[in-house]
């Protein structure tokens, strides 16, 4: 498989053409707007948690994304992966995805953790596109951190 085909996997193109959980929904506790300054890709993303404590469960992640196949597919996969998980677990998935993306193609993805997300392994070989893949994930972390930090008070921030 060429590097190109490894990046544009069927799964990615499917998510791009038919994004899951797209659109902005109520209720939500935090909404963020992230931009990739170099290329202009944008995402507005909302998170809805069932509580604000350590065991909070992610009830919903909704979004409105403008951008390339990679950035759109990536946020779509994110919603599949994270909705229904505890925030704690979701942060581990986030870490795993980050490590995969920043590994320059040397990190072996764990399918048990990342599911469809393993399709992004090929993106890691294209440094210019890693930011696309991470846009939604960074937005999700930012929004989630805001909800938890807001209730936890200023001294106790999330890692």
């Amino acid at each position: 498989m060429s590097d190109l085909d490894a990046m544009y996997q069927e799964i990615i193109l499917d998510h791009y053409k038919n994004p899951h959980h797209a659109g902005l929904r109520e209720p939500y506790e935090a909404e963020v707007h992230h931009v990739n300054p170099t290329c202009g890709d944008e995402v507005t993303l909302r998170v809805h948690l069932d509580s604000t404590d350590d065991d909070a469960v992610i009830e919903d992640v909704s979004y409105d994304a403008l951008g390339c196949s990679i950035s759109q597919a990536s946020v779509s996969v994110l919603t599949d992966l994270l909705i229904g998980k505890k925030v704690k677990e979701a942060l581990d998935v986030h870490e795993e995805f980050l490590a995969l993306m920043q590994g320059r193609g040397t990190v072996e993805p764990d399918e048990d953790v990342l599911e469809d997300g393993i399709a992004f392994a090929g993106v890691a070989k294209f440094p210019a596109r890693v930011k696309c893949a991470l846009l939604g994930w960074m937005a999700w972390k930012d929004a989630t951190t805001q909800v938890v930090a807001r209730t936890a008070g200023p001294t106790e921030e999330m890692a």
Binding site: S2, G40, E42
Partner: protein, 421 residues
């Protein structure tokens, strides 16, 4: 495929051989097809060699030293200034070296906040720009107007990618202090009627700043005839190195502007209590200037001068016409900006239906074709046309019709890859 378009540069193959990078082979064995020259141009061997010779044999700081190397370096640096001045029809003392076009534009916006007398921009004053400016000709004016209480206004754009001058009588008025606009758009390719607007601005008593970052590389430029009071461009787009830009200003205006950056070489005398400043252009060149860069830029404009800017312009028109034709043949592709090669520059932005610009650029890159994807530092113009991002192909004096063919074939391949028809 027409190897001999009318207007192409004579000896195009020889010219290509002057640019070592054009011989590169990219991933999967594809030859490089560099269509991103509006972003930065490639460098001919003579520019590189001139810089190397300077670093290996003549390197020293300038203006400050009595010794032979210092003399050689100063002479080389000032010769760079003279060559640039000659290239744009300016006096040598009117050429200020900055780090890029952005600094040149910021220099102007910044010093207008502190100028004494007439030039000073303050509350109630208006600064007029356009909706097709590069961010480097928007943000400095936003900062200036925010910080001084002045008002920022702008010309809108017509649907076919030109300045909307229908409300010029209202926009250019007695409150207008500065009109700053791009000569050639780096996104739409539009060539603006700079002289006409400058005359209107001058009649209203406004200062005229021209962003010539895309004009100087592509066509013969005479700063005096342009009508500008101040004009900026950047070294790396005229086959010169990064790290150097040019601010040209008519002497009278440069003299009235207060200093921008303070430091070595821009002073006449310094005491702890106060300083006085050197004459232009030194007044605006604080610290060690871009010496080897000025040497390289001198070689660059010499190179372009030898090819002849009339010939470069004709080549660009020919290639751009061929490019516009090629793009029009691709179903689902829409061009942003004027469609006639005669009144536009060589940057052509477009969208391809159902494929995001990043993905287009990625597919083209997999075939060695380098284009830019994104907002090209012109977000407002993209927004004006309801476009979040676009693909931009931009040619230069080394571009061949075959490279345009490779682009067009690459676009068809892209559509196939993403199953668009």
């Amino acid at each position: 495929m027409p190897r001999n378009l009318p207007g192409l540069l004579d000896g195009l193959e020889l010219i290509r051989q002057d640019f070592p990078i054009l011989g590169r082979t990219m991933a999967d064995g594809h030859p490089l097809v560099y269509l991103d020259s509006a972003n930065t141009s490639q460098k001919p061997q003579v520019v590189i060699d001139t810089m190397v010779d300077h670093l290996e044999r003549h390197n020293a700081n300038v203006a400050r030293a009595v010794h032979q190397l210092g003399g050689e370096a100063t002479e080389a640096y000032e010769a760079g200034r003279e060559k640039v001045a000659a290239f744009i029809g300016a006096q040598r003392d009117e050429v200020v070296f900055t780090k890029n076009a952005s600094e040149a534009l910021n220099l102007v916006a910044n010093t207008l906040a502190w100028a004494e007398g007439d030039l000073r921009v303050g509350p109630g004053d208006e600064v007029l720009i356009t909706e097709m400016e590069h961010h480097s000709n928007i943000v400095p004016w936003q900062l200036l107007t925010e910080r001084t209480g002045a008002t920022l206004r702008w010309f809108g754009l017509t649907d076919d990618g030109r300045l909307d001058l229908s409300n010029i009588d209202e926009l250019v008025n007695e409150r207008t202090k500065v009109v700053s606009l791009t000569w050639v758009s780096n996104m739409l390719g539009t060539i603006n009627p700079v002289r006409e607007i400058a005359d209107r601005a001058h009649a209203a008593g406004a200062l005229v700043v021209v962003d010539a970052s895309q004009a100087v590389p592509q066509m013969p430029v005479d700063v005096v005839a342009s009508g500008a009071d101040l004009l900026a461009f950047t070294g790396h787009k005229v086959v010169g190195p990064t790290g150097i830009g040019v601010l040209w200003g008519c002497r009278d205006v440069l003299e009235k502007l207060p200093p921008f950056l303070g430091g070595g070489e821009m002073i006449r005398t310094v005491t702890m209590e106060r300083s006085t400043y050197a004459d232009v252009p030194s007044k605006f060149e604080a610290g060690t200037p871009p010496i080897v860069e000025a040497v390289g830029l001198g070689a660059a404009v010499d190179y372009l001068g030898h090819v002849g800017m009339e010939n470069v312009r004709r080549h660009e028109e020919a290639i751009t016409g061929y490019l516009l034709d090629g793009l029009s043949s691709v179903k689902g592709l829409s061009i942003l900006g004027p469609k006639d090669p005669h009144d536009r520059g060589g940057a052509v932005s477009f969208e391809l239906d159902q494929v995001h610009p990043h993905d287009v650029a990625q597919l083209l890159d997999s075939r060695g074709v380098a284009v830019r994807a994104g907002h090209h530092c012109t977000k407002p113009a993209h927004q004006r046309y309801g476009v979040q991002a676009s693909v931009r192909a931009s040619s230069y004096l080394y571009t061949t019709p075959e490279e345009i063919d490779a682009l067009v074939e690459g676009l068809e391949y892209t559509k196939k890859y993403f199953r668009v028809d």
